[in-house]
Structures are given as structure tokens and as C-alpha cells.
Symmetry: D3
């Protein structure tokens, strides 16, 4: 079925959409209007609702599912939609939010299954037990949260999707460089971003929490490892090394890591995180680019444009 | 009584000294020697012990108190001592290490007393209880550790000396800018460097521990606040804000703070820490400088030399 | 009495306001309009005046006091006012510009009185005489100028307000660190920004002068110290040290100081200036923030947002 | 058999060694001496030869194989050897330079065989033909040169060793991220450092050539691709993209790449190069480190020390 | 005759203009419009064409010459034109594109003549022959291309204009510093930007080509020198030095030069390029500035404004 | 006649030399020695004087002319001299310091004559009078001081030599770019470094003065222009512009200029200063380099080595 992003300029559509964000304004001539950001799984577009009243504001808060008819036009180089009809969805139409938000290609259950396999290759009981304990405590959120508010893996279950992809890459690298300790590497990959379930507000309409802003997912996770070790009555070098893996995974102080990597596995964790995040951004940007052309600029890749070769 | 640093080039001395560091070497001609760093409360100097044997190595490990006779000469612009006689101290001479290591001017008991007075100005029970709890747990080390391995307050009880001085400055500033919250500011000052008692090895011959290198005093302390809050069953914003005070007190990511200050009191904590540390370095460097001349370069002050005015 | 910034979106008002800035434009449809920035002591807002003619342009230049009726609406996340009636103020209404521009809380006379007290603690006659001489020469402007065109102390008498606040902080610090020379420190605080009275255009609608742009308040002030010393026939180290205090008070070359501080007092002057400026910005930003929320971003504080705790 | 680096301080040895570098000096007392750097496959050490004459200088130039007897001592924290006997090797002893210089673990023939397998996975004939052509032209040097003068893969056949290791890693990554074009990625890996065979002087005693200094291996290789395409009469996008892969493989302008990566495969080439080089440095540094201790500082890894866990 | 940039706000005009760029849009009310950038030799302005249809889009693509009547108004501080009449030019009106695009003051033939004179001062036959060969191959484009897409010498024949101006400056400098080698310096000046004829799309409506983006004019030119030397069968140091001159002319790696200058003449080439480019930007910006005022900000001069003295 | 730097390793010499610097030391075995830096016009070398007594220290302070016999040897890659005989020069030998210190090739009178010619091209009386006034006041020092303590023009009369060379370059540039104001440019060139006569201690054994360190030649000169204008009773824009020329001639804040250039002539002054200083360094370094080799590293040129072509 054709989705929002499949429509081109000038085409008309009739679709169920989720109001991602709703704000109100007043034209310079004095009449009220609303700006809506409407989305389905394929992406989102802006729209204006003109001459609105208090009734509209109550009917269409962010988070509402609506049925919208309209067409697509271009404004300042970006597509927008023009709303011709809009109404809240009816219960009997059976549309739920999960039908309209993007998510990982595999289900969270399948991803979690894949993740759990990696524990079989881990041998150090302390590392394994701490990792399992933290994971279990945050399992529900870990399976549904995105890995970020934007840029990469910023969709429902994006966090676990990112972690499983990193684990596969980690396994390849550890097979090629056998001096790497798989216990540390896998545990580091699994734990490094679990703090995001406290740093971020949730899987949809994701924002930073106050704790996320003031403490950050790295320090949150270091605390959680302390707690896990206390609860399991584990002490010793492994606890410290796991904390170091998490602490250093941003690679440099200026990127938010209070310590630079001082373990071989921590250095590799930083690379693996980078490669997986950047491949995700590149695939997304180049998916929207025609062969023989340059992509839009990708901000976290130093704002570079990437070229898509004209041959296969 | 005349101390080590009071002797000028050419003068002879006879002093009790502590071997701060001892290393062995071989001359290019093949004979063995030892390089000793010898100190008393006034400072330390290098010395060579020529034509040494295994016996010397066993007799003069670092940490030994010795009685040394010799004179002072200059080598590459720095004073050194030439040893003419050396022997281990005898027990009946009654010299202890604390007689030979520099320390805060006030006793640690007096300093602790002064520190405890600041609790009376604190009103928020959660902040007060967490701060007292952490302090109590590490009280012994907190009272004897230095604040750093070198540069500033790097002597026995330097840490508490630094903290009490910062509290006094903090009080002045809070009195001038009454919008500052004294609970947060005082607690932040007291807690910010307590992690040093785990980061550093001890009050004498201080080095970084493995945990200090891999985790660092900032993250160590954030963990300790989590533990204290768990043990006291305190939760809520105060815990998070105290953690933020500690996390951000280095001011910038590139200076090791995973978060920049986002509380007014955190911003001030960073300044107060800076002023007290730098006044300590400046007073020390200018104390060794003649009026009308420039001091030696001070590395942590961007390697600058400071001028000492020729008038009072 | 309710001031401009006290009105919320949707409320109507009738106020005397000062036209801070007036520009003209043409809509894409070809009709003329004016954009006015209107202010009272509480702050300023933008407004549009539609379908204007030459008559309006002459009637409402910047600097005019007007009586305006209208209401407040929001446009792109910022409040604006919608003008329903506007006319120039009548002389008999007795409103003067000083009623409508923000200023220091204390009167300039009181502030100057406070400042003069600090001379009693100064002992070095050369330093005192030069400082008094420069101050006397620029006294009138020094008492009314702002300390900056925006960001901190950017109101009438903001400069002297900033200097008096710094002197109080300087006194506290000098009392805690008695090795500081109060003559140098106080003179440095008093003189450091006097050059602003030439760098900036005046107390209202403040802009940089050509001399301000090409020479800057630091070099302007260094010249003034030379002149003062020549006129008083004072020579010697004090002149040079006062010049160094001014030259280095921005702390680093890249912040506009041709020399980094090389006097203990110059290092402290830089910190004191920083603390007072930043407390002013923080208090202002947090004054507009609700408890439990983050402030707007503060550009000169690395564009950070600050959190206002939800408890007192 | 015990090699040079296996001897500890105080032990005596009798070994065939290669003079890697020989310089002469005069003591402050006026007698001549030589400083030799002597190596075998395990590494190298410094030694002094005292009271030398012209005869010694002629007998022991760099590149000479010698039989040396002596012992190991420590000087300023680094091991040195003390020479007790030395003579040039005799032909009948049958020692050749390749017995004494470190080299890749696998033979160059085996490595080349492995490399050639990757061509089977390449499909684009233009890319394949250019890559083979360049490789064929420089095959002999490509098989014996090091990848660098120091830091990583700085041994005989280090270049091909590095490239084969990168190809294996590239294959793993391309299998995990199937949108990557294997033609571009493999060709980029093979070609990226071929220019080193002109930039560097040779497999032993490797230094930068004048052309290496003035032009650099990146531009040298871009020229070679132009030549290859001209000779094969291939034109079109593939030539340009291969040149871009080489041009951008250092990742940033400040690291010597005139263009940042603008192809997904170029971005990955940069990461793969980095991972393989850094794993090589880390394995080497940690190989010399005891469990529970920190390695020496590794300059190209931001001068960091790495910790070797005390558990397996 | 009065040109586009000579008209002030409020004046009406009737002019032949070139459509430099044409884009279409839709108003929020749903009607179509076009945004045109229209230019003559004096500069360019934006204009809107309201209520457009498909017919307008076909009639007015970029590159069309039109006769336009209208007037000038100001919008957000920038002049715009309001179109009152517009039609495509008729053939019999005899207007060609070259009448409407800015160009060098001297004709390209005169400039080329001036350039060729510099060969008479060159003595090294290898350097001369390579330089002539490259120049001959690209002569046509070299004579018409701009030196850049914007900022400096961004007009028809701007490249040769820039090069001739640099040659004159180079000659002055070489006369003052006779140790400079004129062969290298002149050849470097002539060749340094020839690669722009491949990097850029053409003399009008200039954009970067794909090859320009992925390879860049520096590496393009280094390749061309290789080709020229191969075709002329010249080898030896001169080829390498000419390549180094081109490679290093941006001065630093972060400015796109893979090598910093390592020849005296390369260092000077970088300065000469800079001076000529900056004088061009400064003259242009100050030409639009009134005496006693500051120019607009000039982005490539660190975004500085320059002051135009009020005296001659 | 053969000078100090003409002697190669192993050669013996007998020369009049100036003791540039003399320091005393003690060997680790306890005997005293002196380290002398000895120079003639060609350069300087280090030497040791062994087993010295108080008599030697009194006989050979820095500034003494001595007759020395000895030979040249190499120590750590640098030439040193071994003293075999040394005695103070006798008055009747008629050697003066000016015979032994390097100086400009032309006499200071000839250089001053050349400089004065440039005043004839200046037209603005205010600029001319201020420039002449400042120059006259410091004429004696201006004619003998070096331009720097090291790196470039660091010899007797180096300052005027540098200024005259810059004036010639400035004239060439102003002739090519006629929009440049010669009054400002020439005055800026003449005045920009006059402050060095206060910043530096004198023509021989040059060091920074206290005022040089604390105020710097830029601010010193800005003050002098103020004084000159006051004394000549000149006011107006020219005074400010001359001060801006001096203030901004280091180009950037981080290079010690409190303001970046905001005049076209100030921008050019910065370039002209740079070109002349760097040509001086390059000629000096390449003068010591063999064709086909790289020079020693030149610290102020980003520590680069420069290549000297093997052809003329």
C-alpha cells in the first residue's frame, strides 16, 4: 500500500496519519492556524490547518490518529501537504499507533533472541552475570526504545536493532583478531547504550529527560553497573573494566567520554559503534538519492554529501 | 631549624631526609649507581650515590628515612645535592615520616572542624544527609590525602585543606550573590573531589591507582552518591543534582567532565575550584621568586611565568 | 504597575513605550509597512505597523516615545505585539526616556559612593592617583554607560553596577588570599572597562563606535593610563602594571587580550570579571525560567541551557 | 632459539645481529666512540663501542651483520646492551639479512595468493582491470615493502600483510552491510597504499624518499591510476571513483587527504585501515605488557597507555 | 548606460537581463509562483513572478535573456525587484549572453598575450615545455573560466585575469628576493588553478562538477602534469617539483593541500595567490562602501567587515 | 678570511670570538667547568672550559672578546668546539664587538637614507608628521636594534633592514593594486615594529625587557602614537587608523593582535611582514643546505623542512 513518502508533488492522497507534533499560530493578519507534523511508517511531512478555533486545538493534539485527505506541494525546496479534509480516526477503523511509527525491520522478540545467543560465547561468569542482570532489569524498555532521538536507529526498537548489528560486527572482528576478549567486547556492546532507556523519554516522540540532560546515559549506566555488582555481590576487576568500556565508548573527552579507551576492547567498541551508526545513516541518505547524484548533507558525518555511483 | 630548601649552592648540610624515590642505573663505563630523590617538609632534591652494590639497593629503598651529609651544587640550572655521608636513621633518633613530608598548615582535625561548621548553613535534609554519609564513609582518607599528585595542594591533608578553602570562598560568593543555593554549592564543594581517595594511592608517594586511571575520581564519586542515596533510601531530584555537580565540575568535556555545568551552582563550583587551585600554585611559585623578577613557568597555568612586583 | 513583559499571549494593553528601533519594508504584494521594536523598563517586543506611508516614517523614528494599545500574540515561538492604536506621547504626559529604559537597581550616585569607599583601602599613592585621575576624567559617562551592548549589565549605569559588584567580590577574595595586592586588584577592577565609554556610543541604543571597532576598549584604556601618568608626571613600575592589568583582563589572546595575565592580581581580575558577568546572565535567564525546567540557551555561556531546580 | 628481546637485564648473550644504524661521536674528554643500533627479528637495542678508530667506522657501517657478545643493562629506564666482543660475520656462517629483520608471519607468496582470491568476488571489469594493472606493475615491491617506517606493519612484507588483513575485515563488513559495493571496497583496499612503494625507500632501513616527502603516497597513487587507465584505454566514472577512494582514505584534510570520503565505500575504507593499523599497534604494545599493568604509551593512539586485564 | 545595480529603491527600470536561476513555488494559499534571479554585468537581484502557469515555466528557464520592466524595493535589508512586465528577448534585438555576464576588464586575448610574455623570463626547458603543453591543451577553457564560483574572480575570464595579476606580483617579489627561482614560481602560478577548468562546469552559472567534488582541481592538475610529462617524455626532478607547487598551493592540509609547501617558491605561491584573491575581494566590497563606514562582512576573510577611511 | 662557521669537524682554528653567554657547572664527579657560547659574524658554537676556578669566571664573563685556539667536533649531531687555548683579547689587537656580531649587509646610515625616501611618496600631512615624530624620537635605537631575538633579522640593525625591505615590497604591491593608500601602508610599515626598541634589551645579547613581557611592542607603540599625536596636537581619524595598523599587524588575536585587520592596508601590512620575515628565514636555512637535500626544520614555519632543488 502506498505510504506518505511515496506521494510526489501534485498527487492527492487519503491516509491514516499520526499527529507527531501540533502547534498553533496567528497570521500577521490576525487569524489563527495550526501547524501539524503528520507521519506514518514511511516518514513525516508538515501541514497547515487554516482558520482554526479552540475546537480544532482540542481535537488535534499531538499523538492523535487522523484520517487526512489532501495533496502534496513543494515549499522552499521541501515537500509539504495541503490538507483538504481531516477527521480523528474512529475506533472501529482499528488503526493503532504502532501501525504508523517506523520501527526495526525485525520484531523485538526476534532481535532479543539473536542477542541472547551471544551470551553462549561468553565465558567469564562475573561479566556474564552483571550483563544479564542489567539487561533483565531494563529489558522491556531496552526492546522498544530508539538508539537516539534522530540521525541513526531513531525508531521503535532502534536500540536493540543497533546492538544486535554491533554484536554481529563485533563477532566478525573478534574472529579476525583473536587477541580480543569476547567477554569484554560483547558485554561492552550490550551495555554501552542501555542508559538511553533513562536518558530518553520513550519510544515515540522521543526527547531527552531531565536526568538525561544532567547526567547522561554514560554516567547513568556506570551507576547501574555499580548497583548490579552490589546486588550480585560481585567485586573485582571485571566490574571496573565493564564500567570503563561504557565510560570510554564515545572515544574522546570532547565527545562526552570522561576517559579515553584504555582497553583494546574499549577501542574496538568505539569503532564498532561508529561503523554501525554511520552505515545506518549512509544507507538512509543514499536510499533517497538517485544514481549519479549527491545525497543531502548528513550532519553527524561532518555535514558531508555522499555520491551514489551511477553504475550498480 | 634550617631545612633542605634553605641551603644555597656551595653550602654543606647534615639532615634527616626521606627517600621519596630510588632508582638504579649503570654508567656507560659499567659501574652501578643509584639516583635518589630526597625530601623534607621544605621540598626535595636529586642526588647520586656512586659505585653502589646490591647492599645499597636493599638499604635505601624509597620510603626510608636517612641521615645525609653533603653539599649543594647546581646541574643544568637546577640544584642537586652531593652526598658525602648517608646512613639509615636509627629508631632512637625518633624521626617519623610525618616530620619529613609537607602538609597543610593547619592540622587535619582543625580543618575537619572548620568544614563541619558549613553543615549548619545547609537546610535541605536530603542533600545534607547524603553529603554527611559519603564524608563519614571516607573520613579517614579524606583527612589525609592530597588533592593531587602535583601542581596544587599535593601534600598530606591537601585535599581537606583545598575543600575548606573553597568553602570559605563559596560562602563569600553566596553572600554576594544571594540567588545561589548554599545547600547545593556547599555539598558540591565537599563532595567534588572525595573520589580522589580512590583515584590516588595514598598521602605519600602518591600515584594514580588502576581504578583512578580507568574510571577517574568523577565517575567514582557519582557511583558513591548513588550508593549513599540507595543506603539512605533517598531518591529524587537532589540525588541527581548532586551527581551533576560532581560530573560537571571540570567545566568542559575536554577537561574530563562528561557534562558541562547546567546548574548555576555547578558553574560557580567550577570557578571556585579553579581560583583556589590557582592561588595555591601562584603563591607557591611566587614564594620562590625575587621581587622584580619572573617566576618559573607554571605548567597548569598555560606554562606562563608570573611577575613579582618590585614594590610591596 | 503592569509592564510590557508582564502581559501574556492574548492579553490587551495600553502602555507608554519607547521605539528602540524602526525599519520599513514592502510586502510581496507591494504595500509598505514598518517593523518597530518597542520597549519599557521590563524588556522589548517586535510589532508591525501595516500600510504605512511617509507620514508614519517621519512620525515614528527610533527614539520616539509613543502610547500604544494592542494585544500580545505568539509568532514562531516568540511573543509579539499587535498594534491597535499608536500615537506619539504628548509633552504634558510627562514621560521621559529614563522611565522606559532598564537601569541598575541602585542609583548611579549610590553606586559611585560605594565605589569611592574602596579607595580608602588602597595605599600606593601612584596607583591611587592614576586611578582617580582616569575616573574623574570620564566620571559622567562612567556613571551612565552600560557594560556591554547585550548579554550582561547592558542597561543604563550597567558599567558602574558591574564594577561595584566586582569590587565587593574582589575584597572578599583578597581577604581570603592575603598575598593579593589590593592596590593593584582594586585599581584593575575600576579601570578595566573604563575604555567602554569610548568604545560604545552611549547609554541608550548602544552600538560600537568606529574607534571601538578599530581600537577597542582595552587599547583605548592603556592609552588613557599613559596619558594620566604623563599628566600626573608619574613614572615607574606601577604605570606598567596597571596597563598590564587592563591589557590582560580578557585572559587569552584569542579573547582579545594581547597579553595573558602575568600578575597574580591580573589572573584574579579575569576570574572576578567572569564570575560577575556570568552571575548576571544566569540570574537574568533563570529569572524567566520555571522551577523544574531549563532556561533558554545563553550564547556567551557556550550556548548552554541551565536547569532551575524544582525545590527551593 | 633465544632472541635479542628475550634477554633480561644482567644476562649475557652471544648473537648474530644486524647493524641497523651506526653513528660516531666524541666524548667530552676527546675520545671517539660509535653508537650502534643492533637488531634481530625480535627487535633492536642501542650499544656503545668505545675508543673507536677509523678502522671501526669502516668495519661496522649500517647494514653489516655482526656477531656480538655482551650483556644487557638498563640506562634511563630503557634496556641497552654492553658489547664485550664484536666481529663481522663470516660468509661460511650463512647468515643473511632476512634472518635478522622482522617480517610478516606468513610468506609474501602465501599473502599474495590470499590477496588474489579477492579478485574473484569483484565483478566490474573496469575496476578489476585497473587494480590488477597497477598491482602487476609494482608487484615485486608491493610484496616486500613495509606499510610504514614505524608504528604499525613496519616490517618486511608489512604492506601486503596489512592489505590482506584489511581485505578479510572488508569482506566481513561487506557481508554484514550488503549495500556496500565490493568492487570499490576491495579495489580501494588493495590500491590505497601501493604508493608507499615510491614514497618509501625500501624494505630495510626504511626512510621517506624525496618524492615521498614532496608528493606523498596518496597523490603518487592517484597519478598511477590515471596512467593505468590511460594505458588500458579505460575511461569513465570508475576511474574517478578509484581515485577518490585513494584520495580520501586518510579521512580528513588535516590527516593528509585532499578530500574527505564522499562514497560509502571510501568512508568504510578509512575505518578498515584504522582498525587494522590500531589492532597491530595494540597487539604489539600489549605483547610487551604484563597482566594487570599498563602498556608503554602508544604515540599514534593519542599517546595513550593501554591496560592489560589481569584475568584471561 | 545605467545598469541593474545602479537603480535605487523606488526607481523604475526597463532592462535586458539574463535569468541566472529560476525556481517554482506554491504560496500557502495554493497559487503557483516563480522566483527568478536576474542579472546583467553589474550584478544580480531576486524577483518574484506571481500566479504563474506551466507556460511561464517553459518560457523562462534559467539561461533565458528577457526584457524586464519594474521597480526596486527593499525586503529584509536587501534590494529586490518587482516585475511589472517581462518577455523573452527577440533575436533582432541583438543581445547576447556575453553582454549580460560580468567579465574581466581586459579581453581574454590581451590577458593571454600578457601571460605569454612571462615565458620569456623562464630558462629551464623542462619546466617551460610542460607548462606550455598543459596550457595549450586547456587554452580555450583557461581563457574563459572564472577562478571560482563566488568570492573572487568569479566572472568570465576570471581565471586568466587572476593568473596574470599573480604573475605581475610574482615578478615584483622575485625581483626583490633574487634567490627565488622564476621558472618554478611562474610555472607554479600558471598551472596552480588550471584544474579548475575540470573542477567547474563552465564560465556561466558555474557549479562544481562531480569530478570537481570527488577529486578536486589540485589532484586533477597533478594528474595532468603527469600526463604532460609522459607525453613529452620528460622525467626528472622538475616534474616532481611542479607537482609539489600545485599540491601545496593551498598552504595547509586543512585547506585542501595534501602537502604543505616544502619549496621556497611554493611558500611564495601560496602568499601570492592569497594576496591577489584578497585584494580582489576587498576592492569589490569597499567599492560598495561609503567613506567613513564599514563594508559588508566578507566571509572568506574570516567574516570581517572592513573600514573605508573618510579621507582620500 | 675564514670565519667560525667555515670550519668543519676535525679542523683546527685560531680566532677572535665574543663570549655570547657564559654559565658555570659542576661535573657529577665534583669539578667545576664553564659552558661558553662563542660567536663571530658567521654564527656561534658551544664550548666547554674544564676544571675552572673563580679566576676563570671573572676573566670570561659574557661580553668578553677572547682569542681562542681549538678544533671542531660533533656532539649529538651538532658541531661544538674544543678549546685548547683561550685568553682575553689585548687592547692593541684592535678588535671591537661590532667586528664579531652579525649585522645587516648595508650600513644603518644607508638603510636610513633609503627609508627616508619613502616619505616623499606620502601625501597626508598628519600621517607623515606622526610617523616622522615617532621615528625621530627613537631613531638611534631604531637604527641598531634587531627585529627579533631569533628566527629572522635577529642581528644588529636587523629592524631597519626588515623595515626597508618591507617598504620596497609594499611599494611594488601598491603599484600593482592602486586602490591601496600609500600613506597608511608606508606609515604602518615604518611604525609597526618600532615598539621593539622598548620591548627588547638592545642590539647584542638581546632579551625581552620586563615591559616587553608585560606590555609588548604592539601596545607600547600604540601608546607612542597617542603621545606623538598629543605632542603634535594632531587629532582625527588618521591617529586612530595608524594605531589600528600597528594593533592588527599580527593578523589574529591568537598571534597577539587585539584586533584583526579592518583596513585593506592593515591586511596587506600583515602579509608584507610575513613575506619578508619568511624569505629571511628561508634564505638563511637554505643557505646551509646542499642542493638535492632538505633544510633543517624551521620552527616558525610550522617546523617544516624545505627542499633545495638539485638544479639551478
Amino acid at each position: 500500500m502506498k505510504k506518505l513518502m511515496d506521494y510526489k508533488v501534485g498527487e492527492t492522497f487519503e491516509l491514516y496519519l499520526l499527529i507527531k507534533q501540533a502547534t498553533t499560530g496567528v497570521t500577521t493578519q490576525g487569524s489563527s492556524f495550526m501547524t501539524l507534523i503528520l507521519q506514518d511508517k514511511s516518514g513525516d511531512l508538515d501541514a497547515k490547518l487554516w482558520d482554526t478555533t479552540e475546537k480544532h486545538v482540542k481535537l488535534y493534539p499531538s499523538g492523535t490518529i487522523v484520517k487526512v485527505g489532501g495533496d502534496i506541494h513543494e515549499y522552499r525546496g521541501k515537500n509539504q501537504m495541503r490538507i483538504k479534509s481531516i477527521r480523528p480516526v474512529k475506533e472501529e477503523e482499528g488503526i493503532s499507533i504502532s501501525d504508523l511509527v517506523p520501527s526495526a525491520l525485525k520484531s523485538k522478540e526476534v532481535l532479543f533472541e539473536e542477542l541472547m545467543q551471544f551470551f553462549f560465547e561468553m565465558e567469564n561468569p562475573n561479566i556474564q552475570r552483571i550483563t544479564r542482570h542489567v539487561l533483565k532489569k531494563h529489558e522491556a524498555e531496552f526492546k522498544t526504545y530508539p538508539a537516539a532521538t534522530r540521525n541513526h536507529h531513531d525508531y521503535v526498537s532502534g536500540l536493540i536493532d543497533h546492538v544486535v548489528s554491533m554484536l554481529k560486527l563485533g563477532k566478525s572482528i573478534a574472529d579476525l583478531y583473536p587477541s580480543l576478549n569476547k567477554d569484554l567486547l560483547y558485554a561492552g556492546i550490550i551495555l554501552h547504550d542501555v542508559g538511553k532507556v533513562i536518558e530518553l523519554s520513550g519510544p515515540i516522540g522521543t526527547q531527552y529527560t531531565v536526568e538525561g540532560n544532567l547526567i547522561g546515559h554514560i554516567s547513568i549506566m556506570v551507576n547501574e553497573i555499580t548497583r548490579a555488582a552490589d546486588e550480585l555481590e560481585i567485586s573485582g576487576e571485571e566490574v571496573m573494566l565493564l564500567q570503563h568500556m561504557v565510560l570510554s565508548h564515545h572515544g574522546k573527552e570532547e565527545w562526552g567520554s570522561p576517559k579515553r579507551p584504555m582497553l583494546k576492547e574499549a577501542e574496538m567498541l568505539h569503532y564498532i559503534d561508529n561503523i554501525d551508526a554511520k552505515m545506518n545513516m549512509l544507507d538512509r541518505a543514499l536510499g533517497k538519492t538517485n544514481p549519479g547524484e549527491f545525497s543531502e548533507r548528513i550532519f553527524p558525518l561532518d555535514n558531508r554529501s555522499f555520491y551514489k555511483p551511477s553504475f550498480e
